[in-house]
């Protein structure tokens, strides 16, 4: 048997391609939990603990705990931080209220996507920009360069911030019961807002009677990448393992399990969320990717990529669509899509949907073949499998 996924090729030494492998502050917890690891942007991250499917279903029905410490956190600070980000990013970041978050894009001058990211306004003059691990250097460099025109400073704090996400319908119930976690505004926290909190690990017998354990700061955001309700917790790396264990212990009775990147990928795919390097890249324009709403052409002033984007996506450029098919054979990234006998596009992500039970895929196809209901064919390793264009997302939670 050979396995076509390069991430799990036997014998591939961790981190051999681009320097030594990096490890999350939670690595030992993952090892102890029996995780399998995969290289992700140079990091050895848990791909699964036991079963991709069990972890996927846990997030849809109860909750899953993800280690996202590999992600990049870059702080932009100063009196003109908001103006700087209006110039650096595609969205109107100055319109984001303190406590609010915004999904945005960092565009290149040619209008391509350097990264997709979330900007959290954590103060009048302070923003936390959370970017993909694979684009950390590019985003940090571009923000530094673009923000240098304004009165603000840029700090890459990725090495000093760990990130734990709890995702799923039971997330709130679990997070609100973790001993030592205090998040005053948790109940009122809205989707795409963040709030400060603290975590004071409950003292063990060993240190009873001594000084109170320290109170650690948390940033708690109601955001995620799974299509479920959930929270992302930004915390100091040395505190992360204790918080991780406390969450798992509190949530065990509610069905909380640690979940790896394999389930994260099928969850985000069902939720129709793009993944950089698959649906998004330097050669993709926001409009092709269905992210036109993220680009604010009405905002005053220039922003990087504006001119290129305003000239519009070239006519006939391929656009991102959802595809569903029958049976069990899923189209995978790179598989060609046919309209009749003509190749009209290619798949960027695909899987047999664990929640829906049928194959789903995202693909870029010619505009002429992209209308909802269009009947296309996916070349699944030599067999043409019928597929229909559907609107994204494939899965939407009941609210």
């Amino acid at each position: 048997m050979t396995d076509s996924s390069d991430s799990s090729a036997p014998g591939s030494a961790p981190g051999s391609a681009a320097g030594p492998a990096r490890y999350s502050p939670l690595h030992q917890a993952h090892v102890a939990a029996g995780a399998s690891f995969t290289d992700f942007a140079g990091w050895q991250m848990p791909v699964r603990y036991s079963s991709d499917l069990a972890e996927h279903h846990a997030v849809r029905t109860a909750a899953g705990l993800f280690d996202l410490s590999h992600m990049a956190e870059i702080v932009v600070l100063g009196p003109e931080a908001a103006d700087a980000l209006d110039y650096a990013l595609a969205g109107k970041i100055s319109a984001v209220a303190v406590g609010q978050a915004k999904y945005s894009l960092l565009l290149g001058r040619e209008g391509g996507i350097v990264d997709d990211l979330v900007a959290y306004r954590t103060g009048e003059d302070r923003f936390l920009v959370v970017a993909n691990a694979s684009n950390r250097a590019a985003v940090a460099e571009q923000l530094l360069e673009r923000c240098s025109l304004f009165d603000c400073q840029v700090f890459d704090e990725s090495d000093d911030i760990a990130l734990i996400a709890i995702q799923g319908p039971k997330s709130f119930e679990i997070l609100s019961q973790v001993p030592g976690v205090d998040i005053p505004a948790l109940e009122a926290l809205k989707y795409y807002w963040s709030t400060p909190g603290t975590f004071r690990p409950v003292s063990t017998d060993a240190d009873r009677g001594e000084s109170e354990p320290a109170r650690h700061e948390l940033l708690v955001a109601r955001t995620g990448y799974t299509g479920e309700d959930g929270f992302e917790l930004y915390v100091a790396p040395d505190v992360a393992p204790v918080l991780w264990d406390a969450l798992l212990e509190t949530g065990a009775g509610s069905g909380l399990v640690p979940a790896g990147l394999a389930s994260r990928d099928t969850l985000r795919l069902e939720a129709g969320m793009p993944l950089y390097g698959h649906e998004l890249g330097l050669a993709t324009s926001p409009f092709q990717a269905g992210l036109g709403r993220v680009v604010n052409l009405k905002k005053e002033g220039d922003f990087v990529g504006r001119e290129a984007v305003e000239s519009g996506a070239s006519e006939g450029a391929r656009v991102l669509v959802g595809l569903v098919s029958e049976g069990k054979r899923a189209g995978r990234a790179g598989y060609e899509v046919y309209d009749g006998e003509t190749v009209v596009g290619a798949i960027t992500s695909g899987a047999l949907s664990p929640t829906l039970g049928y194959p789903i895929a995202m693909a870029y196809v010619d505009a002429a073949s992209a209308s909802d209901g269009a009947n296309l064919l996916i070349d699944v390793r030599g067999t043409r499998v019928p597929a229909s264009v559907v609107p994204l997302p494939f899965y939407k939670r009941e609210t």
């Binding site: 048997m1 396995d3 076509s4 996924s5 799990s8 036997p10 399998s36 499917l53 069990a54 664990p354």
Partner: protein, 123 residues
């Protein structure tokens, strides 16, 4: 389940149980673990002629697709319909109920011993 130490192996992470002139073939626990949850198995038809090293089937997980190679020349004598109906057997019992095909072979090629295979996967 047959003891893994009593089986023969291929570099493609398949195990082979030789009984007379019939070879039972499956994928190893190592391969199943690397694939993740298997959700679809495609096997050849009974009676099909297979050639050593040729692709005769597919094993798909949520994350990726693995190919099943024929480890021997011969004719497919039996396929595991249970694993087609319940692909998760490949994960839960790769050396037992998760077997894939039985091939009536004409000649047995050189296969890896348990120790050689263990060394290959570093376990």
């Amino acid at each position: 389940m047959t003891e893994p130490s009593a089986l023969k192996y291929t570099k493609e992470h398949e195990w082979v149980l030789v009984d007379g002139e019939v070879a039972t073939v499956g994928i190893t626990a190592y391969a199943a673990e690397k694939l993740g949850d298997v959700v679809f198995v495609d096997l050849p038809s009974v009676g099909a002629t297979v050639a050593e090293g040729r692709v005769v089937g597919e094993i798909e997980s949520t994350k990726s697709v693995g190919e099943l190679f024929a480890p021997v020349n011969g004719t497919v004598a039996e396929v595991n319909d249970a694993v087609v109906a319940a692909p998760e057997l490949v994960n839960s019992d790769p050396f037992g109920e998760g077997w894939l095909i039985k091939v009536a072979f004409t000649e047995l090629p050189e296969l890896l011993s348990f120790d050689e295979y263990s060394a290959l996967v570093g376990e």
